[in-house]
Subunit: 688 residues, 2 copies
């Protein structure tokens, strides 16, 4: 029955998290749209209406026919000035809020969440203030027109929601494993609501986020993403009844000869990824050195520049999402934005698209990483889309000029053969995949965004090329690069060949505790003298036989609690090992000899009362009596696999029965860095 | 450079496997279609043409207008008899071939491949004959009209192809890990070509097949599925230019009130899964007991019954895939199969669909598992589709009868509100998910099959309900149940709570080898006396200190090779431990102290020549000096996680420096079975 209640609670918590994420996403969407429109004009029927709702009654979509909507000014330069001013104001507010209230709200947050899910602890990164400030500033940043996206931050916000809600439940707040599951599920929901792509979200959580994959986690992610998406869809923020951002239907199929153009797009994606990763890291280094105290000024400057330049390009003036929707569209019927489909304008359009690609590329390099919420998904896709559409237009022009040449032989006469919109779609996929180094996720997301079923194979081909180019250039995903840049302890998923045994890397000067013979006072002293995260327990004789391991937090917690019990005095001896009758009793109580890390507080206290007697304070229920151990000759690769797949914080090294060392992820990372830089001092300060 | 060559070889092998799978799938498709049509008639222009190609020139699809195509007879009873006769003949040939040439070609093969990927060895299961016979008999079985699908067998055939091709390359044939990767990738390609769903295949390989998930495996699967699908699409067996089996476009969106009907479909899926798993296992038990020697008669009888009954139902006479394509379709325009869309016939249709559901259900229960290639994907989907369409028709009828009642309030008048085709789609998804216990994979497959983008959320909701019902009823997927039924050693993915330490389960009576003091003759004797799979190496004194582990195969291999070297005589002493200079030399040669399991044959022989001297035969390069060890108090759960996540064959148990036991997956399974049955003898015979 209790198991059932626990299972029920899990479902309840995940549902709650999903609903909260959905509601939050809807609010953010509405706010973003209103703020974006207010840059251009206002609604005389009510200031709270955005352009779409203001002109809801009017059938024609042409903005000039809608009387209730007023442009700020009729004069062109004034409109430009107001546009730029709003952009600057929005970015100022956002940067100021972030700087003064929640530093962690800056950036995309995906790298940090990857580390947190892998077991790294960052206090406050998923706290309420981060959530609140990031939710408020995200619409401002997007509306300011900066070349940043909302998808990364939306994952971060979702994880904050998951963390905040799950922390309210004891089952979760006490269990690191469950908390990581919730965070993984939240990240799936975050992507799901950002793109309206629930399955893409699940795959994102598998491919990018989770370090250990399990069917249970996948199922949680599925459920959380579903609840969040249904909530969002029920709130219907776009009033279109659609979740899908840019639904397209391509009537025409692709031809095999087009693969050679698709390969160009794939190569572009790979190069784009390598370019962004390389230069964005350089900008990040410069920012860290020179602009540390000018974060607000930097954001405002960037927004101003972006708005000033962007105004003059058809595809940069409007929202990135909107421009993608236009670029993906097929060229038939009435849907012609700004002569995009007209043959007479084709070179002008190609030129305009090329400019948009290059300028946006530069802006992304300098904007991503500035101290406001900033994602890189949508900007990458926008760049890929402009480039792809440009290629598409050029291929179409060639086709029109030489309709009878060899490669176009399969085209039927009088039927359009090339669909430039599909090139934009594939370009967007390539750029996204190039910068994130995701494959399956990107296919599913593109597919869920557009419904272009017939284009699954071309998408896969393009991503294959992108991946090959990326591998050739040795690019890693921008999230992983950011982790490395910031020096977070994170193990890459790829296995690295070290060719050294564990003994070369392990720490040898250990703070151990003998299994008996210490008093409470001794323990207090040890705790205050050192700051290691835990203590191996060894036999009291000189043989150094490993008996167990106790966490520092556990030890401190139990000592503090013990002081409130009257029987315990500073000179009460402590014992870490259970004796036979203890074990019997424990088995009866269902505790077994396993570590007590997951115990409830009540059980914990009850246990202590029974273990704390006048004679001796028994600490064995809090000792992990079976820590993971390896032999010193074990190749480091295997130890790394143990860390990655089993997820322990420490691995103890035991040689012929005696404890000889201790290994943590940080030790391995330190070793790797030393190897790489060939320097002889450690860049890591302090004990971990 | 060598790394590059190795990487290149991997790509090359995976491409080759993908192409072969694609070609094979195309051939199977063409053969299946021809055989299906030959049951009804023949083409006078050429016997090798199927109905579609025979009537290629004629525009109208009505079969009566095509003159070249002749029905076998004009008289109805004769047509029926010929139809039944063909079905019986096909099933006879298939069953006979399977029985006489390749026993392993029977069944779906998914359970067995799961075990093989998890590390179980089944000789011949992925061999050439299995491949060849399964490829030949599969079209026969499908054409015979048995209620079995081609998707499971197609995965098996794909894995055979992967195994056969990869075995030709040394890098793969020597490395179990690489072989498993190839098999996982092949299974992805198998699903991809069977459904025309590349991403669904990748997810299938993640969700169902792989025991250890890694990004690299996922990427291999992606690539292999892509190559296979492109190959298939280039061969274009359907001549439609489409990969997608039943592309549909639903113009109308779903309404929130429909969720309550979707929930009915979800419940049906869960019940269906539980029903099939329960009764199919009972049938399997009966088959094992009574029908062991009547496999051919059984298959023929089943095919005859299926054909005799099926003829009289609109939805069972035609191919299951074809019937699904009809059921999924929206009701507008000309696409009206047999009055399916006409209001006047709605009750007749509902009745017919209900009958089809029930009869097919019975047929699947008795047919799945008979000794011909037989999958359960498509039959499940077909049952779900008939049931779903029935529900859809009924809901539509209710809507038409009470257009103004509460729940239909959101429907606009004069516009069709309910789309029965979508119910069929959701029903198919529910049934598939219910029987396989897959979630994300099913969503993606349904989505790739139909392109019904707007129906992602309903599909997810339906699968959620199906999963909840299945969990409530305690159903496990049919593949896992089959594994349990057949007694294969396989660890379920769900963690099981054992509440016992490793010491309760481990084997204590070990055959160990002392590190020194034995001669070649002694070793030969030990090998012939025991049949254990490997030997722990312990110190020569009485302390029993663990020094390493050597595989039986390695030991036998090296002893055999050593006999050909002149320096080695039967009384040459052997040594399992390296001394200091050996290690130095080895490090120089790049072998390090790691196990030599992955060494090339050449290096291996070279090594031996240097290690085999007059004085002593040094075996240390073949000893795994760092086997995975745990302490006897370790909870069994953790040991199981080690097995699952790290994938070793054995785990040694070491207490306070001395070897005390050995644990294999079989030991754990034996323990679980003993626990369950409370019997005191072991159902496992012999050593593993």
């Amino acid at each position: 029955l209790q198991t059932l209640a626990h299972a029920g609670q899990s479902w309840f918590v995940v549902s709650l998290v999903g609903i909260a994420i959905g509601v939050n996403a809807a609010v953010i969407s509405i706010a973003t749209e209103w703020l974006s429109d207010i840059k251009m004009g206002y609604c005389s029927d009510g200031w709270w209406l955005n352009q779409q709702f203001c002109c809801w009654e009017i059938e024609g979509t042409d903005e000039d026919t809608c009387e209730a909507w007023h442009q700020w000014s009729e004069v062109m330069p004034a409109r430009w000035a107001i546009y730029v001013l709003f952009a600057a104001a929005f970015s100022f507010i956002a940067a100021h809020l972030v700087k003064s209230l929640a530093k962690y709200a800056a950036g995309s947050g995906i790298s940090e969440i990857k580390c947190i899910i892998a077991g790294f602890v960052m206090k406050g990164f998923l706290g309420f203030w981060t959530f609140f400030i990031k939710s408020i500033t995200l619409p401002l940043v997007i509306a300011s027109g900066l070349s940043v996206g909302k998808e990364g931050p939306s994952v971060h916000v979702a994880c904050c929601v998951g963390n905040i809600i799950a922390s309210m439940f004891k089952d979760f707040s006490r269990s690191q494993v469950k908390m990581r599951e919730i965070l993984t599920a939240s990240s799936a929901a975050g992507v799901a609501v950002a793109f309206g792509s629930p399955i893409g979200g699940v795959l994102f959580s598998i491919e990018e986020m989770s370090s250990v994959f399990s069917i249970k986690t996948m199922w949680r992610s599925f459920f959380c993403a579903l609840v969040a998406t249904v909530t969002l869809s029920a709130m219907n923020p776009y009033r279109s009844g659609k979740l899908v951002l840019f639904q397209v239907t391509y009537d025409r199929d692709w031809h095999f000869f087009e693969i050679m153009f698709f390969i160009i797009l794939g190569i572009f994606g790979g190069l784009y990824g390598a370019f962004i990763v390389k230069f964005n890291l350089q900008v990040a280094a410069l920012r860290k050195r020179y602009l540390k105290n000018h974060a607000i000024a930097e954001a405002v400057a960037l927004a101003t520049i972006t708005a000033m330049i962007g105004w003059f390009n058809h595809f940069m003036r409007i929202d990135m999402t909107e421009s993608m929707a236009i670029l993906f569209r097929e060229c038939d019927g009435a849907s012609d934005y700004d002569h995009l489909c007209q043959t007479a304008y084709q070179w002008q359009m190609a030129n305009s698209l090329f400019l948009a690609t290059v300028v946006r590329l530069g802006l992304v390099v300098i904007s991503y990483g500035c101290k406001v919420p900033a994602g890189i998904f949508v900007p990458s896709m926008a760049i890929g889309a402009t480039f792809g559409r440009m290629v598409g237009i050029m291929v179409k022009a060639v086709n029109r000029a030489y309709p009878n040449s060899g490669i176009f032989a399969v085209c039927q006469p009088d039927v359009p053969c090339i669909t430039p919109g599909t090139y934009a779609l594939l370009g967007a996929a390539a750029a996204l995949s190039g910068v994130m180094r995701l494959t399956v996720t990107v296919v599913v997301i593109m597919f869920e965004l557009t419904g272009a079923l017939t284009y699954i194979l071309p998408t896969m081909i393009v991503l294959l090329v992108t991946k090959a180019v990326g591998d050739f250039l040795g690019t890693t995903g921008i999230a992983d690069e950011m982790i490395r840049f910031n020096g977070y302890p994170f193990l890459e998923k790829d296995d690295h060949a070290y060719n050294v045994p564990v003994s070369r890397v392990m720490r040898r000067d250990l703070k151990t505790l003998p299994v008996s013979g210490l008093t409470c006072k001794d323990l207090e002293e040890v705790l205050s003298r050192t700051n290691v995260k835990g203590f191996p327990i060894v036999s009291a004789d000189s043989k150094n036989i490993l008996m167990g391991f106790i966490d520092r937090t556990q030890l401190r917690y139990i000592l503090e609690k013990a002081q409130n019990l009257q029987d315990v005095r500073p000179d009460t001896p402590v014992s870490f090992a259970p004796n036979a009758e203890d074990l019997e009793e424990a088995e009866f109580a269902g505790v077994a000899a396993a570590p007590a890390v997951g115990l409830d507080e009540e059980t914990s206290l009850g246990l202590m009362e029974s273990t704390a007697t006048q004679d001796v304070l028994k600490l064995w229920p809090w000792v992990n009596q079976t820590p993971l151990t390896v032999s010193p000759q074990l190749p480091l690769e295997i130890a790394m696999q143990l860390f990655k797949r089993m997820g322990p914080r420490i691995i103890l090294v035991e040689g012929q029965g005696a404890l000889v060392g201790l290994l943590t992820v940080k030790d391995v990372l330190r070793f790797t860095m030393l190897e790489q830089h060939q320097v002889q001092y450690s860049p890591w300060s302090g004990e971990d």
